[in-house]
């Protein structure tokens, strides 16, 4: 039942979102919303009057409808719903007022004004609000709590073309969102306290820990924990922001940019009550703390005062109501604040259901009425209005009654509520007289304002003469007045109102008057029958939470002595304040409204944070490549150095260098000047050339370290990179500008640190004894395993069985003597597979770079390398070389010698590549080296003979070759799968041919072939595409 009740509005909203809105009448959303609300009410009615057949709640001792489903029990989030007293009450209130407002909204909203979105969101809001009050789990409540903030955001910004609406929505969202986060942190804090607490007999159960009843039951733990004050503060922040308590009250008036039904429903009747509701849930836990009184009570009364004053000084009736709402919310908050050490004994107050209900009724009604006034008179400023009673008689009556209730006039429901509050306030006892007398005093002063602005609301628009006669004419100044003349199609205060401009001042239709009328009537009825209402509501206040004798004993003039006089005083002085009101307002406006907190908000969120953000972005984010890299290095090396420092990373002692090795210092020593040239020379080409010997030296070191394959690869790669570089080089500026040559000491320092770090790591790792130690229990080290298994099978059948492939032992060995090659194609063949893919991608990438969307901007293109380099005076040293004064002109054709003899040489290269390819498994070489070799050979052909004599190379589709190579490699990887073996498993066979002798064939060679093809394809693709530029 409960989930259905809760989810029905969500389903409704989803339905509205999904229906084909183009084809349906724009009235459907409103109707659907009303239907859904009725459905919810029906379900709620069933739930209310059907006795809960479910088990007895152990803690509360009462029987509720409840529902439980695990969600994330480990973090305390469960889908626990209940309909205990307060929940039931709030559900009725939300749905009841919601129904009226939806009906009203159906008439109020312009059908052209996105009704689908509007009603869908309203329904979403209603569902969320139901969720807030029905949640038994505090975290679940938070979930819905945030949803209400969000729907409120969307609804406030419904007329999003208005800047003020956007701003108001944003402000509401930020403030409530911030509060929501605090609330979340507070709830998390509760969870933390409960999960770490220990008490005799206390067992922590994460799935129920955050239930309201369990929080209450474990209140001793919560109260005695050192962090409990912090948690309380956080949760209170959540409640205060939601309920617009001082100093967060400023968002609520801004939220009044929303359409009137929204203001009535969210920002008067229900959503802002969520904070009050939360206070009501917390109150039984904290009521005995004086801190609670100080925080909640003072926040409440200050809000009352501030809100009341602001309401007094508002011109706009809607603003007046908004501020009055702030004030009333302060009252509701203060009610809880006063719970400390009540005179009546150590009992907490009952929940403030009466106050909430009464406020919801009259404020909802008043907002709707303001909408009607706006609708009829096209303005909401009482300084312009006047004498409307002639045009809007019904509205006048309704307003007067509602305002009476708001002011707490006897016979209305508001009076009952006010009485309850004053009774509480006047019986406050606190340790400090400042609190004990100060808070009630402030509350009473604030109540004066209440009377005054109620009178303002009830009297000013309706009586007297129109203060601004122009409103009876058919103009639209109200639009201009609000400063959004930019859009008149949607403007006016409300959508529907804009259609009524032509009609002059007029009464609202029945659809607009009946819903507020019902509420106003209810105010009166409830006022008369308040004892009955008290009886009705009393059982809803959960007895165990609030003491056994809780409940409302409602009667008129309950405490006739003090209260009566107070009321008389209030009304007397209130009228005086009302009379002085306009003057107060004007002087206040002259003084300039301080609105400190709104300004503080703006200072923080509209100025400080954006400028902090801009500052962060400026400092942390640089478009400069150089600085990015420098910061990157600095951070990385800093962290590594810190790690070394922290861990006491030390170096092993120096190891003597054998005599013959001293010559290895030579390449190192020669690298330094190479680096110097590579880092300082003005000409790009010279720097490239200076890199070449370094490549040779690296190859030399590979030789020192007995790595023939590496030496081969290094040399070949070096050559190919040089060719590619040269092909690109002449499209770059040929020389560095002088300022680009300046030494950069910071970079030098960072590089020094980095190089030291890397060198230290290298040195220490070389001294590690673990590298070649046997791994695990008696297993050979990786190195020994590779060496031992490269040629001869070393795996016994037991070992093969142990790894899950029995019967495989006979096949297993690399089948080659070149262990590096066997490693590449067999032990770590997958690495090679990945590596050729990288190569293929790189070639394809070059292809894409050179062909896709190629737009060359001529002014950016700096060609002409020949002259640029040739005549550079610092290359051709003028002292030693002078221009040859010979008529020696450029040759148009390529060199004859090169093309004649240079084309012989590639044959050697290619045949040697074949040697390397076939020898690869047993000697240095292999597919990759052979592939590079072939590429070098082909490149040499191209260099020697130019494209004109190698058309087939020019046209050859190397992408396809890449594809073939990949395919071959992929097949060798995949085919073993067909035999039920892991991928890339290879086999090898000896064979013997007559006449030709024996040989050996390993399937790894096919893989190598794939590698070979891909390498040729990739390299040549790059060369081809660049060469054809």
């Amino acid at each position: 039942m409960l989930p259905f009740l809760l989810l029905l509005p969500f389903f409704g909203a989803a339905l509205l979102m999904l229906l084909p809105r183009e084809r349906l009448s724009p009235l459907i959303p409103a109707q659907a919303t009303v239907m859904v609300t009725l459905g919810c009410l029906a379900l709620l009615g069933v739930a209310t009057f059907l006795p809960p057949s479910l088990e007895l709640q152990e803690i509360t001792g009462e029987r509720f409808h409840h529902f439980h489903a695990d969600w994330m029990p480990s973090i305390g989030l469960t889908f626990s719903l209940w309909l205990d007293g307060p929940a039931l009450f709030f559900c009725w209130m939300v749905l009841g007022i919601g129904l009226l407002i939806f009906v009203y909204a159906g008439f109020y909203m312009d059908p052209a004004d996105s009704p689908w979105r509007f009603f869908g969101t309203m329904m979403l809001f209603m569902g969320s609000m139901l969720g807030v009050v029905m949640s038994r789990n505090a975290l679940l409540m938070f979930v819905f709590w945030e949803l209400t903030s969000l729907t409120s955001f969307i609804l406030i910004g419904h007329w999003h073309h208005k800047e003020s609406a956007r701003k108001g929505a944003m402000r509401a969202l930020v403030v409530t969102g911030l509060g929501g986060l605090c609330l979340m942190a507070g709830i998390a804090g509760y969870f933390w306290i409960l999960s770490t607490a220990s008490a005799p007999g206390y067992v922590f159960d994460p799935s129920t820990a955050l239930n309201w009843d369990s929080l209450w039951a474990n209140r001793e733990l919560l109260l005695n924990h050192p962090a409990s004050v912090a948690c309380l503060m956080l949760v209170l922040l959540g409640a205060f922001t939601k309920s617009a308590q001082f100093p967060f009250h400023f968002w609520l008036p801004g939220a009044m940019e929303a359409p009137t039904p929204v203001s009535a429903f969210l920002h008067a009747a229900t959503m802002v009550k969520a904070g009050i509701y939360l206070l009501g849930r917390l109150y039984p836990i904290y009521w005995s703390w004086e801190l609670w009184l100080i925080l909640v009570g003072s926040a409440g009364v200050i809000t009352m005062l501030v809100g009341g004053f602001m309401a007094m000084t508002s011109r706009d009736l809607k603003q007046l109501l908004a501020h009055s709402t702030v004030s009333q919310l302060g009252l509701l908050t203060a009610y809880y604040g006063f719970g400390f050490d009540r005179a009546g004994g150590d009992k907490p107050l009952p929940m403030d259901l009466l106050l909430v209900l009464s406020h919801a009724m009259f404020k909802g009604a008043l907002f709707m009425i303001v909408g009607v006034i706006d609708h009829g008179a096209h303005t909401r400023e009482w300084t312009r209005l006047g004498g409307l009673r002639k045009y809007m008689p019904v509205t006048t009556v309704l307003t007067i009654v509602a305002c009476a209730s708001m002011a707490g006039f006897p016979l209305t429901f508001g009076f009952v509520a006010k009485e309850l509050f004053l009774k509480t306030a006047l019986s406050l006892h606190a340790s400090s007289p400042l609190l004990a007398y100060g808070l009630p005093a402030v509350a009473i002063i604030a109540s004066l304002f209440t009377v005054a602005y109620s009178l303002r609301m009830a009297v000013s628009p309706f009586f007297g003469k129109p203060r601004d006669p122009s409103i009876h004419e058919h103009d639209i100044y109200s639009i201009e007045e609000r400063g959004d003349a930019e859009d008149d199609a949607h403007d006016g205060s409300d959508g529907a109102a804009s259609h009524a401009h032509a009609a002059g001042v007029h009464e609202g239709g029945p659809g607009l008057l009946i819903p507020p009328g019902i509420l106003v009537l209810a105010c009166l009825v409830a006022g008369f029958w308040s004892p009955f209402l008290g009886d009705l509501l009393s059982p809803l206040v959960n007895a165990p939470f609030y003491g056994t004798e809780s409940g409302f004993t409602v009667a008129f003039f309950h405490h006739a002595d003090k209260l009566l006089w107070t009321a008389v005083f209030l009304f007397g002085v209130g009228v005086l304040v009302f009379l002085a009101g306009k003057r107060i307002m004007e002087s206040y406006e002259r003084a300039g409204s301080p609105a400190i907190f709104r300004h503080a908000y703006e200072a923080i969120f509209d100025r400080a944070i954006p400028s902090l953000a801009a500052w962060t972005a400026r400092t942390s984010q640089t478009p400069s490549l150089r600085r990015s890299i420098a910061v990157f290095f600095a951070a990385a090396f800093g962290i590594v150095v810190a790690a070394m420092g922290y861990s006491g990373f030390g170096l092993p002692g120096a190891i003597a260098i054998p005599a013959g090795l001293w010559m290895a210092t030579l390449p190192i020593a020669l690298t330094l000047p190479c680096l110097w040239v590579a880092a300082t020379h003005r000409v790009l080409l010279v720097r490239v050339l200076a890199m070449a010997p370094i490549g040779f030296f690296v190859a030399m070191f590979f030789v020192f370290f007995r790595a023939p394959d590496l030496a081969l690869t290094q040399i070949l790669v070096e050559v190919v990179i040089l060719i590619v570089l040269l092909m690109v080089l002449f499209r770059l500026p040929q020389r560095f500008e002088p300022r680009q040559l300046r030494f950069d000491p910071t970079a030098g320092a960072i590089a020094l640190v980095g190089a030291l770090v890397m060198a230290a790591l290298t040195y220490s790792a070389m001294g590690s004894p673990w590298r070649h130690a046997p791994t695990l229990e008696g297993q050979p080290s990786v190195r020994d395993y590779y060496l031992g298994n490269a040629k001869y099978p070393a795996m016994t059948s037991e070992e093969a069985a142990a790894i899950g492939y029995p019967g495989a032992s006979n096949m297993r060995s690399g089948g080659g003597t070149n262990v590096v090659n066997v490693t590449l194609v067999d032990f770590r063949g997958i690495d090679t597979f990945g590596e050729i893919i990288v190569l293929g991608i790189s070639a394809i990438g070059v292809l894409c770079l050179l062909t896709v969307n190629r737009r060359r901007r001529s002014d950016n293109w700096r060609g002409g390398a020949l002259d640029d380099v040739g005549h550079v005076s610092d290359i051709v040293n003028p002292e030693t070389h002078r221009q040859l004064e010979m008529p020696y002109r450029a040759w148009p054709s390529p060199s004859l010698l090169l093309s004649e003899i240079g084309r012989l040489a590639p044959g050697f290269v290619l045949i040697f590549a074949a040697v390397l390819f076939f020898a690869g498994h047993n000697a240095p070489g292999g597919g990759f080296i052979a592939g590079l070799m072939v590429s070098v050979g082909l490149a040499m052909v191209l260099i020697a003979v130019s494209w004109t004599r190698s058309r087939h190379l020019e046209r050859f589709d190397f992408v396809r070759l890449i594809g073939v190579g990949l395919l071959v490699a992929l097949l060798t990887v995949v085919v073993p799968e067909l035999f039920g073996l892991p991928f890339l498993t290879s086999g090898h066979w000896h064979f013997h041919l007559p006449l030709l002798g024996g040989g050996e064939f390993a399937t790894a060679a096919i893989f190598d072939l794939g590698v070979f093809l891909l390498v040729v394809g990739a390299t040549m693709l790059v060369v081809q595409k660049l060469g054809k530029e």
């Binding site: 040759w891 060199s895 010698l897 004649e900 003899i901 084309r903 590639p906 040697f912 040697v915 004599r949």
Partner: protein, 163 residues
């Protein structure tokens, strides 16, 4: 003919490096043919398909001439290096370099190329370039004399006889 020579060199090269087995020779022949066929700019691509088999006598003559050419070459090379060594290791600088022209208008492209290579590896000379009309070889000579040009042309005759 050039094609066969090239093929032979390739096969021999393969076998030399990969080991002298029939298997390797077969492999080498296949690969070398494939290479030559695949690359039209390699010498002999056009003629490789012709089954022209030279007579044994001619083969012998060619071999003899090649040997003579090689010997001449080795002697020249050694001389060249000794000259350089002398120049380097003695303190006095003797060289008086000039650019010298060598007429090569009667030679084919390939012969020009061979000659140029040859010149580079002979004492004191270094071929720099061939002019655009392919008539003249420009040579840098360390010790130019009156007979430089004539002596530079000497290998051409050997070459002529050889091929």
């Amino acid at each position: 003919m050039k094609g066969y020579l090239y093929l032979l060199i390739l096969v021999v090269g393969y076998v030399l490096v990969a080991g002298v087995t029939p298997m390797n020779a077969l492999f080498a022949a296949v690969i070398a043919v494939a290479i030559i066929k695949a690359m039209p700019q390699f010498p002999g691509h056009e003629k490789l398909s012709l089954p022209g088999i030279a007579s044994p006598a001619r083969m012998g003559r060619i071999a003899a001439n090649l040997a003579a050419f090689s010997w001449d070459f080795i002697v020249d090379l050694t001389m060249a290096n000794l000259v350089i060594a002398w120049e380097v290791w003695t303190p006095r600088d003797r060289y008086r370099p000039r650019l010298v022209e060598v007429k090569v208008d009667d030679l084919s492209d390939f012969e020009t190329a061979m000659l140029a290579s040859r010149i580079t590896l002979t004492p004191g000379t270094l071929s720099i370039d061939v002019t655009e009309d392919r008539q003249t070889l420009i040579v840098h000579a360390m010790y130019p004399g009156e007979d430089t040009e004539a002596s530079l042309r000497r290998p051409i005759d050997l070459l002529r006889k050889g091929l």
